[in-house]
Amino acid sequence: MRSLILRSFMTATSLACLATPGLADPMADAQAIVASHKDMPVFEAPGEPFDAKSCMADKKVLSVPISMTIPFNVELQKAMASAAEEVGFTYTTWDNQLKTDQWIQGISQAISQDYDVIDLAGGLNPEWLGPQLKEARDAGLQISATHLYDVTQDQIDSIDSAGKIDYTAAGKLLAAWAFVETEGKPNVLIIGSSDVLPSIPFVKAIQDQLTELCPDCKQKHLDVPVSEWATKIQSGTQSALLADSGINYILPIYDSMSQFVLPALRITGSEEAVGVASFNGTPFVLDMLREGQVDMDIGESLGWAGYAAIDSIMRMVCDLPPVAKLNVPLLIFDEENVETAGVPATFDDGYGDAHLEGFRTLWKLN
């Protein structure tokens, strides 16, 4: 009888342990996630080597970024153009200012000028240009989308390939960072923008990781469309901080949101008590980090991103298997290494240049 009771107790305990979400040592797991993104990036080949120069001979690519008034897109285009020049094919950026008619003009130009590929870059959603892309495909052009989808998202049928970014990994990293920095007691405000396609899995990755690390910890999601960042982020953050004075970390998923978060912290007198960590590695935010206004920023080298995007496009043109995600490392910038990003910071300093030799070898340019 005693053994039966004991066995029943042990079974019940085991089941209880299985039913309880969470990890055996969440702090160790969170620290491991953070540590894996602190080292200088190492080049990992995204696929098999191929002879890019001969494959891309006489090919023409026209890239339509979402807007050239966004510095991120300007730098991404520079890197893509540089990679294309190394390989030796025609690469054109269609300059625009976030206007639908300008995107349509770009696609029409690509069709009439006999381009082979239209690339929608830096967040331009192909769903906004359905009829135009159909016309382009009917004319024999291939369509790619660069730096739009998260690795967990499926691309739509109207495009041929997508250079996906691991926003999910960035989300997990932000959650782990907040967990470590608050010594396992995060009360987090996440600021997202659901109108930006990858924001949804990005925010979900943060929420899931926080729940996994700390099932009982509080988290709140403030959803602000991009067009209303200037008018809603500051007021929304202020209200959240006033409604819950226990909030100890803010995670704006895109670092340009930070300029509207900081005034909210100053006005509510929460600068000392609340940390800020974000994603993108935008130079002005890295400058803020250097001045101690932001605690951490996950950088994604746009030099790496540009070369990886061209690699993905060339694999589509050369009929090679697509890559699962763009080979863009996520590197933590904090007070220890932010100086390596430059003073003032740039989009591409601090990541090393392992990608240059890596891609040249991969494309058989050496």
Binding site: T69, Q238, A243, Q259
Partner: protein
């Protein structure tokens, strides 16, 4: 001309006089009562957080930029002109501060003066095209604003610039009086000055006459062109002041975000025209309308409402308030000719 017609008939009986006065006073202070009602409502729902002084100081301090921009556009609206370049001037002013102070390392005080001067110059350009070529202010200020937006992208290289002098940041939101950031007091001070000028000075009364009846003002010997030109220049300068506060608020400048303040400023100006001095764009009405709107939005956000609810409140409150005001005045047509 841009004026809201508020003519009411003369009462013949004392009863009608007292009824009309009650109606008029009710209309004057309806927005103030609505604001207090909101405070009571949210205070009852969230007594600990909403009724805290920290919450009120935060609301007061954070809206100073919008108050100043609203006051800037109220000036030409009073003289019968629209200024759609206000938010562009604000953004240009903050960007000039960031470029000169951060990129070129100039000391902050002369940089602030240059930013204000730039606002005055853009206002003068608006005035020149509106008055010399006799083009509607809506068209000119839209064009000049767009031109200025291009200049902002050019001088900033489309980049956000952080690291504006902490002296400015301290004198805008870090230093406080009664726990409220100084920016609030600058905005209230400006509202008081504008109210005084409009009500008790000759230039202010001329501005009103020009806005109400331009030809009548001209026939009475008022130099209408000079009055309108002055209103554009002052509006540009005050918009630049709003940009100065914006740079101090964020400690940075970016080429786009300030432009989003144009519509909220116009909404506050029109909502303000239903209050305190109904039928006329006025400083205190504008001030109260900004804080009425932010109180509603803050309360809703603290209750956990989604972002879109803010837009519903903002747009709904504007249309309902103006409509009720029209009902009180027996739906007399508004004159925006």
């Amino acid at each position: 001309m841009t004026s809201l017609d508020m003519q009411t008939g003369k009462p013949s009986l004392s009863m009608r006089v007292s009824k009309l006065n009650w109606k008029t006073e009710g209309e004057r202070f309806a927005l103030v009562f609505s604001w207090l009602l909101l405070i009571v409502l949210f205070g009852a729902l969230m007594p600990d957080s909403f009724l805290s002084w920290r919450n009120f100081s935060t609301m007061f301090g954070s809206q100073a930029v919008l108050v100043v921009l609203t006051l800037a556009i109220v000036i030409p609206l009073t003289s019968g002109d629209f200024d759609l370049s206000g938010a562009s001037i604000l953004t240009m002013s903050s960007m000039i501060i960031a470029v000169l102070n951060v990129k070129l390392g100039w000391p902050i005080v002369p940089v602030l003066l240059i930013a204000l001067l730039t606002g005055a110059v853009i206002g003068a350009v608006n005035a020149f095209f509106v008055l010399y070529f006799r083009i509607h202010s809506l068209i000119v200020t839209l064009g000049v604003g767009t031109f200025v937006n291009g200049l902002i992208l050019w001088i900033s290289n489309s980049q956000t610039i952080s690291g504006v002098s902490m002296d400015l940041v301290e004198w805008v939101i870090i230093n406080r009086l009664f726990g409220i950031p100084l920016a609030f007091f600058y905005a209230v001070g400006l509202a008081v000055v504008l109210w005084y000028v409009m009500e008790f000075t000759i230039p202010g009364r001329k501005l009103l006459f020009v806005g109400r009846a331009r030809e009548v003002a001209r026939l009475n010997g008022i130099n209408v062109t000079r009055v309108r030109a002055t209103s554009f220049v002052v509006s540009g300068t005050v918009s630049a002041l709003a940009g100065l506060l914006y740079a101090g608020m964020t400690g940075s400048a970016d080429p786009l975000s300030g432009l989003n303040l144009l519509l909220p400023a116009f909404a506050a100006a029109f909502l303000g025209a239903t209050s305190i001095v109904p039928g006329r764009f006025n400083a205190f009405g504008s001030l109260i309308s900004v804080y009425f709107l932010v109180t509603g939005i803050t309360g809703l956000t603290m209750l956990g409402a989604n972002t879109y609810v803010q837009n519903l409140f903002y747009g709904g409150a504007l249309v309902i308030a103006v409509s009720l005001s029209q009902l009180v005045r027996n739906r007399q047509p508004q004159d925006f000719s």
